[in-house]
Amino acid sequence: MSSYDIVIIGGGPAGLAAAASAKRNGIDSILILERDSQLGGILNQCIHNGFGLHTFKEELTGPEYAKRFIDQVEELKIEYKLNTMVMDIAGDKTITAMNRTDGLFKIQAKAIVLAMGCRERSRGALNIPGFRPAGVYSAGTAQRLVNIEGYMPGREVVILGSGDIGLIMARRMTLEGAKVKVVAELMPFSGGLKRNIVQCLDDFGIPLKLSHTVVDIRGKERLEGITLAEVDNHGKPIPGTEEDYTCDTLLLSCGLIPENELSRGIGVDMNAITSGPSVNESLETSIDGVFACGNVLHVHDLVDFVSEEAAAAGKNAAKYVQNNCTMGEAGKEIPIIATDGVRYTVPKTIHVNRMEDELVVRFRVGAVYKNSYITTYLNDKQIIHRKRPIMAPGEMEEIKLKKSELEAFGGLENITVKIEEA
């Protein structure tokens, strides 16, 4: 059995950044396992621009952004295996993987970085009634067909869900000559970035219908049409508001789910809100030496933040290996309480003695807030009270905690992050 100091599961943006960071922090023995035929993950099919504004201060396409990190991995001579599926990770960090050339094989790791990304919520999971014809695709599958395989899934399109991939695909399908009739969103607000609504819908005159959902799918063989209806405050369709659309394609962009089958297999504690592992300040899961970053941890909007988070995970994994497979003195584990509009935080707990001088805590809000405050308390003492003109579930928020401030605070029991309305 071969062995590595750090094995990284997934060669998308998270895995690549984690690998480069681990190498720069002094670890030579690193292996990336990637199931696809190339590195870069989902970025390879995201041929639109807008990536990298934070990281590189320029607008790159997805493949260009990925290339920057793939080049780093190549320059740093980090080993990787493509077309390789990880089948199982045991609690002792033995990884069972498989590919065409090596067959079924095992690898022993000292530390593992989980970076498997996420998948799209399917039609089945949405439980939309109707027939089950061809022509109903998740937006990402359609994106792959159009951008990578070179095929048009259809000509007359309705999109359900205003997640970013759905918005991007509304524009892509239009540019490819299809007619995008409407984008419907169940919630009273969009799930995507404001800039995508402007650039992908408004600029092309595509209507966005908030508080609407698909209540019927017609067509025995190929999709022939769908019915939209308005929904009430509880998301229930309002009788009498039904409106029929003829279309041969329905794209679904109704949320992303972290792909944590392997994480569950290895036995890490999961966060029910994010569907990702619960992690501490080191992005370490409940199992020592197993770290998580990127969309497998929680779904991000911007790849820049994925890269940043993954670099931290890679650095921490390096620290763990160099420190004889421990993160050092644990000290007290302080919980971060997410409440009053804050759905969750990553990380979920903090060992103050192990944190960097400044720690970014990321979270999402549960509703749209206008002119409200992001507040943070150490026990009952408010330390952050920052006004935000607008906050929405589609855009990730963050606060920064200073190690010096936390250390100086005597008797710290918990940290609370919440939204206070004006």
Partner: protein
């Protein structure tokens, strides 16, 4: 002229075909769909019923009990998934206890082996997740679960390997009595045969009524289901029925042979045999009613929903006989639940009737054994490693959720009566049947189907007909330049 034409490649038709392939007969199975197992056989509870709830003395009871007995040896002979997990019928109210006892007595009359009435304590010990409201239950250890696609496909493949011809995309329009048999006119020309077996499911009345003055009537009775993620696999170990009572026929909760949980069905009579859509009300009812048996059933874990039509004959009885006013025309009609369970017995009964008419010789070359698609997950690590070395395609995972390899998909396409569409591959290998519902694997599976069958991607369908997956090339694609 064929000796036998079987209309319908569902479980009934395929079982009849396989049983008849034991004889020297020239047999053809025709189906209007592109594959076997496209109608009622593909969308049902996937249950091997014990037979408790069949009325004693009926053909249904006889076929059910016999089919249940035959299922285990057949699953080994034909290599399909079957598990005798046992079933429970729950009673929720003291006032329903007499009804439960009647049902128990009926089970005894039907000679269902080893059934017993469980007390509340025994019930909850057996199934800890059962509702506290359940006060007693009938336990039938002979109840089971089966992969309906696996069973249907296995029977058809074995029939094919023993010389039965299959014609797909062939829809029978009229049937005419001719000298020495029947002439079936179809969209693909006319077919002559000495003997017809009518195994047309929800359409069986249509064909029966073409040749007989004694009309029958079949109602498509829609049943809607929800399938839950494999993470729910341990929820219940037995198939959980509700005692028919004031809440209607009841919704079942059952594990599947692949480790999912299935809940359903509704029962909704309508008049369109092609209508297999689900409804918001139906799905809501399924989810709500399932929680009556198992309050913790995680309905948020639904990965797909579907509906199928039972072929409900007005007298709620199987019709398996030569028609009195149409010699050599054999009905296998009204095959609703427990039709899947009964299929092995129905096939034998149909074959007996046909053999009585045609008096054929035995087929000396008949081989009743069939090997299914190798599932590498069931191999030891050594065997799996060896398989990949011999056939590297088994090292290439296509469907992540169900860990299905390229090797399995190639086998599904290239074997006897192989898959021609995405759904065909799905029913044979489970690729696309997992929690992402083919989001990741469909482009890859399309590519493999295209390569193996020499089809352009534009010709690849979800399930035949006009169900094409893509409609053209994207504008900047090289193919169009």
């Amino acid at each position: 002229m064929y000796d036998v034409v079987i209309i319908g490649a569902g479980v009934t038709g395929s079982s009849s075909a396989r049983e008849l392939s034991r004889y020297n007969l020239n047999i053809c199975v025709i189906d209007k769909e592109e594959d076997v197992c496209c109608g009622t056989s593909k969308a049902n509870s996937a249950i091997v019923h014990s037979g408790i709830d069949c009325k004693p003395g009926t053909l249904m009871a006889e076929m059910n009990v016999k089919g249940n007995e035959l299922m285990e040896p057949l699953s080994k002979e034909l290599d399909f998934e079957f598990k005798r997990n046992g079933s429970l019928i729950l009673c929720f109210a003291e006032e329903d206890m007499p009804h439960l006892k009647e049902l128990y007595q009926q089970g005894i009359d039907n000679k269902i082996p080893d059934i017993k009435i469980l007390s509340k304590e025994e019930l909850h010990e057996m199934e800890p997740n059962i509702s506290d409201e359940a006060i007693a239950a009938i336990y039938a250890p002979s109840g089971g679960i089966v992969c309906p696609f696996g069973m249907n496909i296995a029977m058809a493949e074995n029939a094919y390997d023993n010389g039965v011809e299959f014609r797909f995309n062939t829809e029978v329009r009229t049937i005419k009595k001719i000298e020495g048999g029947y002439e079936l006119s179809t969209n693909n020309g006319s077919i002559r045969t000495k003997c017809v077996v009518n195994a047309a499911g929800v359409y069986a009345d249509k064909f029966h009524n073409m040749v007989s003055a004694k009309k029958i009537h079949i109602t498509p009775r829609r049943g809607e289901y929800c399938l839950l993620d494999k993470t729910t696999g341990g929820l219940v170990s037995k198939t959980i029925f509700q005692l028919p009572g004031k809440y209607g026929k009841g919704i079942l909760v059952t594990p599947t042979v692949h480790g999912n949980t299935l809940i359903g069905p509704t029962a909704d009579d309508h008049d369109d045999p092609e209508s297999t859509s689900t409804t918001a009300q139906g799905l809501a009812h399924v989810c709500q009613a399932a929680t009556r048996s198992v309050p913790s059933v995680p309905v948020r874990q639904v990965i797909t929903s579907f509906s199928g039509n039972r072929a409900h004959e007005d007298n709620h009885e199987f019709i398996i006989e030569e028609l009195s006013d149409a010699p050599f025309f054999v009905d296998a009609a009204g095959i609703e639940s427990p039709g899947l369970t009964s299929a092995p017995a129905i096939g034998i009964k149909v074959a007996d009737i046909v053999c009585g008419l045609l008096k054929p010789e035995k087929n000396p070359d008949f081989n009743g054994t069939r090997k299914g698609i190798v599932d590498p997950k069931k191999l030891s690590e050594e065997e799996y490693a060896k398989l990949i070395k011999e056939k590297p395609a088994y090292g290439n995972i296509i469907c992540r959720c169900e860990t299905v390899t390229e090797g399995e998909i190639i086998d599904a396409i290239t074997r006897s009566l192989g898959a021609k569409s995405l759904d065909g591959v799905k029913r044979r290998t489970r690729a696309g049947m997992g929690r992402c519902q083919a989001g990741f694997c469909s482009p890859k599976t399309m590519e493999i189907i295209g390569r193996e069958l020499g089809l352009s991607q534009l010709e690849i369908t979800k399930n035949g007909g006009k169900s094409n997956m893509v409609v053209g090339y994207s504008k900047k694609s090289a193919q169009e330049v």
